[in-house]
Amino acid sequence: MAKKLAIIASKGTLDWAYPPFILASTAAALDYEVQIFFTFYGLTLLKKELDAKISPLGNPAMPMPVPMPNLVQMLPGMESMATMMMKQKMKDKGVASLEELRSLCQEADVKVIACQMTVDLFDFKKEDFIDGIEFGGAATFFEFASEADVSLFI
């Protein structure tokens, strides 16, 4: 029987968006059966138009080309600039885009559950999400996770 990987994806920034998609797609390539439960901010990673951003603010470990005090990082436009620079760097280094990893996960039959409570909480519209996902709650997650060989909270 195939091994199982259960992931909870709870964060929606560009940096935090990578681990669930990288691990899920790789596990699928290793013949795991994979399920990701997207909750809270992680749910935004299921929108048709991905708009994940990265912020150096409150993220002192982020490598910067020049040292930058918080006071500068909070200026308007800094977040967009950091996101643009990070995406460019990833492209230069041959790191897949989030869109690509996400569609690779879908091609590999990674099962995606969207947290219904979060959908209600933030008034998200189901038509804003990608196709092929299911909606459910914590009990739905445990049904799969209780039999998983690896469970991750991200």
Binding site: I22, T26, A29, L30, D31, A96
Partner: protein, 76 residues
């Protein structure tokens, strides 16, 4: 070395080389050999791990000029 198919994974970073190999192997038949050329230095360890976990056989793994070449035999 003889191979049945070749995959150019140069310029790709983790986990793309593994994902491409998985996809390419799926199009091949058991016993056939796939040659992979990559530039990701992490792929050396990753292909060993991939083969150990999937039952495919890593026939060869070599390095030269910043490129890593692998020969993988698909499990029967």
């Amino acid at each position: 070395m003889d191979f049945d198919k070749e995959l150019d994974a140069r310029g790709l970073n983790c986990p793309l080389p593994i994902l491409r190999v998985k996809k390419t192997l799926a199009e091949m038949t058991g016993g056939q050999a796939l040659k992979v050329v990559a530039t990701d230095s992490g792929s050396v360890k990753d292909f060993q791990a991939f083969c150990r976990q999937t039952g495919n056989e890593l026939l060869e793994s070599s390095e030269g000029n910043g490129e890593y070449t692998f020969l993988i035999k698909k499990k029967a």
